[in-house]
Symmetry: C2
Subunit: 381 residues, 2 copies
C-alpha cells in the first residue's frame, strides 16, 4: 500500500509556523467574462510576512488547478503537511517572508473558501452548482485585483508568481494591469491550452458528469460523484508527472501481495500510488469546481484570432522571467518559450530559463534548488 | 459534431473484397501462465490469399489491444469501413495477398469471437466473467501456435507482424518458437510495460470497475459499465495520438454552437471527437475483456530479474525488423530501440527503423507510405 512520505524541513532556514486565513468580501456586482453577473463574492486568502511602510513588498502567489490559498506554514500543530509551496516560501527562503509580504488567494470558482459553485446563490439560498457562471482566468485575476486594491489598499504588487494555471494568472496580471506588477514569474504554463490538454480535461469532466452521483451537478454537500472525480484526478495526475519520473520512482515494483487477491486489485506500486491520489483528492475537492476550473483552463487563450501573441503580451510592463521544465509534457518547454519570444519581439524585458528537472509538469512543486536560486535572484535583482 | 471520415481506397492497387471468419476449436486442456486451466478454447481468425504448395508463405498479423481478427477486406458490401489494416494488406499491397497467405486471429481473452471472459464457462454454463483466468501475451501466442500447427497444419510461418500489443506477440513468437518464424516485424512496442503505461491502464480499469453497472464483472450481455469503458477508451485514445497530431487535426477548433448549450457540453472539436471514440467503442468491446487485455499488457516483461533483455531475446532465430515512431510517447522510440540493441549484443540478425510520423503511437495504423515500403522490402528480401 502506498504511504505518502512525511516532508522533511531540515534543509530549510526557517519556518513560518502557524498561519490563518482571511476572507475578503466584495459586496458589489461583478460581471464575468461570460457576461453573467455575480452579486458579490468572497476571496479566501492567507498572508505571510509584513507589509512595509511603502507598501511595496507584496508578492502574490497564484495556485494551480488543484491548489488553494494555503501555500505555506501550518494551520495547526497537528498538521501532517505544511502549505503546498512551503519549500519556497518562509523566513530566509527564496520567497523570503522576512522581506516580502506574501499573499495567496483561493481562486474565484474554487472550493476552498472562495466563491465557487458550492457557494450559496443569494437568489435561491441554495448552492449555485451549475447556476454558477463560467469563470475565466481573467475573472480570477480581476477578483484578486479587487482584493489588493479595495481589500488591502495597495496600488501595486512587487511580484506575481505561479505555475500551470497559476502561471496563466501571472500572465493575465501583466496584461490586465500594466504597471501594477514589477516582476512576473510564470512557470510550467502556456499562452493557450492546446488540443491534447483540452482532451485530457474533457475526459476528466466526462468521468465526473457521467457518474450517476453527479445528478446534473445538484448533489448534496458531502456526497457527489466521488468515483468520477477520483478517476479524473488519477488521470490528470499522470499528466503532471513524467515517464522517466514514474519509472525512477516506481518502475515495475509490486505491492506486497495480500493473502487473497482478486485479478484486478492493485498489483504494481504505481497503481497503489494513483489510487491513493484519487482517494485523497475527493476529500478535499469539489467535483463541480473541478469542472469550472478545467473549463477556465481550456478557454484560456492569449492568441489573437489572427494567431499572434503580441497583441496581448505587448501590454505587459513588468520584468518577466518564464520558467519551463524539460520533462513537462503537459505544458512543454516550447509552450513556455514562445511567451518570451513574443515579448522579446515586442521589445519587452523578458527572459527564459529551462530547467532539466525530471519530474514533469509538477517539477515546480518539488524540492528544486535550481528553481529556488532563479526565483530568489530574480526577486532580489 | 465529429463525423468520422470515410476511407479512400483509390491509392491502393487492389482490394481483397468480401471475407469471412473461421473458428478454430481446441478441445484439450490449456494451462495458462497464471497456472489456471482452460478446458479448451476457440480462436476466431480470418485468412486472405492462398497457402502455397510448400506451405511456406503464411504471414500472421497480430492485433493491438482494441483490434480484432478482421484486419482486411469487408464482411458485407454495406460495410462502411474495411478491416483495420486494409491499407497494408491486399493484392499488390505491402503484405501482398497475391504472394502471402495472411492469417489474423482474435487474441485469447478477446471479445470478438475468441474465448475470453464473455465465453461460456463449461463448468457453470454461464459466462466466465471474472472466473476467466488471467491470460498473458505468451498464452495468446501459444493459442495461435496451436491454430497454426494443429488447425492449419503448418510447421512454420514466413512472417509475424504487429504493433503495440501485437508487437509484444511478435517478440514472444520469436522467443517461444525459435526457428518457427522466418521474419519478425514488431513495431510501436516495448519489451516491458513501464510505470506510465501501467498507470494509464490502471486508471482505465478503475473507471470500469467503479462504474456501478460493472457489478463485480457479472453484468448481463448487452449491458455493463458503458460509462466507465467509454472513459477508459477516451483516455487511452489520447495516449495513442500525439500532441502535435492533435494540434494539427483539431487545435482549438470549436464545434458549431447549438441554440442552447449547457456549460459543459462539447465546445471544442477535440472533445466531440473523443466522445465519438468513447461511444463507438462501447458498441464493439467488452469491458471485462478490456480489463484482462490491459492486465496482460501490464504484466508483459521480457527482462530477466537481473535487468537483462538478452536472456529472453537470445532465443530468437528470426530476422527481425523493429520499427519505432518518433511521435509515439506510449511506447517511445527508445523502448523499441533497446530491443534491437539487445538482439545485436546477442549477435542476432536485427535491425531498427525509426519513422518520423507525427501521429503518435497509432502511426502504424494510418496511411504511411514509408512504413509500407519498409515492410514490403523486408518481406521480399
Amino acid at each position: 500500500m502506498y504511504e505518502p512520505p512525511t516532508e522533511s524541513t531540515e534543509e530549510h532556514p526557517g519556518e513560518i509556523g502557524l498561519v490563518q486565513w482571511n476572507d475578503f468580501h466584495w459586496e458589489d456586482s461583478f460581471v464575468c467574462d461570460s457576461g453573467d453577473e455575480l452579486a458579490g463574492f468572497t476571496i479566501r486568502y492567507e498572508t505571510y510576512g509584513k507589509l512595509n511602510a511603502e507598501k511595496s513588498n507584496a508578492v502574490l502567489i497564484c495556485h494551480a488547478l488543484s491548489g488553494d490559498h494555503h501555500c505555506a506554514g501550518i494551520h495547526s500543530l497537528s498538521d501532517k503537511k505544511p502549505g503546498w509551496w512551503n519549500n519556497l516560501i518562509g523566513p530566509g527562503k527564496p520567497v523570503d517572508t522576512n522581506k516580502y509580504f506574501v499573499v495567496c488567494t483561493n481562486c474565484l470558482g474554487g472550493c476552498q473558501g472562495s466563491t465557487g459553485p458550492t457557494a450559496i446563490n443569494p437568489k435561491t439560498n441554495k448552492p449555485y452548482n451549475l447556476d454558477f457562471p463560467l469563470v475565466s482566468v481573467r475573472d480570477m485575476v480581476r477578483a484578486q485585483h479587487l482584493l489588493f486594491t479595495k481589500g488591502l489598499g495597495l496600488s501595486g504588487i512587487y511580484s506575481v508568481i505561479g505555475g500551470s494555471m497559476g502561471g496563466m494568472q501571472v500572465l493575465q496580471w501583466g496584461i490586465e494591469y500594466p504597471g501594477f506588477v514589477e516582476k512576473l514569474i510564470p512557470m510550467a504554463t502556456t499562452a493557450r491550452q492546446n488540443a491534447q490538454a483540452i482532451a485530457f480535461n474533457e475526459v476528466g469532466r466526462l468521468a465526473i458528469m457521467q457518474d450517476p452521483e453527479w445528478q446534473e451537478g445538484d448533489y448534496e454537500e458531502g456526497k457527489g460523484p466521488n468515483v468520477g472525480l477520483a478517476v479524473a484526478r488519477m488521470m490528470a495526475h499522470i499528466t503532471y508527472l513524467s515517464d522517466a519520473g514514474l519509472e525512477e520512482k516506481f518502475g515495475r515494483d509490486k505491492v506486497l501481495k495480500p493473502a487473497a487477491r482478486s485479478h484486478f486489485d492493485a498489483e504494481f506500486q504505481v497503481e497503489s500510488y494513483l489510487r491513493y491520489q484519487g482517494q485523497s483528492f475527493i476529500n478535499r475537492f469539489d467535483a463541480n469546481s473541478y469542472l469550472y476550473l478545467t473549463k477556465a483552463l481550456d478557454r484560456f487563450d492569449l492568441f489573437s484570432p489572427s494567431g499572434q501573441l503580441e497583441d496581448q503580451l505587448e501590454k505587459i510592463r513588468s520584468r518577466t522571467l518564464v520558467i519551463g521544465f524539460k520533462s513537462d509534457w503537459l505544458f512543454p518547454p516550447g509552450q513556455n518559450r514562445i511567451i518570451v519570444h513574443a515579448m522579446l519581439r515586442c521589445g519587452l524585458d523578458a527572459t527564459y530559463a529551462e530547467l532539466d528537472l525530471t519530474l514533469g509538469h509538477d517539477s515546480f512543486l518539488v524540492h528544486a534548488p535550481d528553481l529556488y536560486t532563479l526565483i530568489r535572484n530574480f526577486l532580489a535583482a
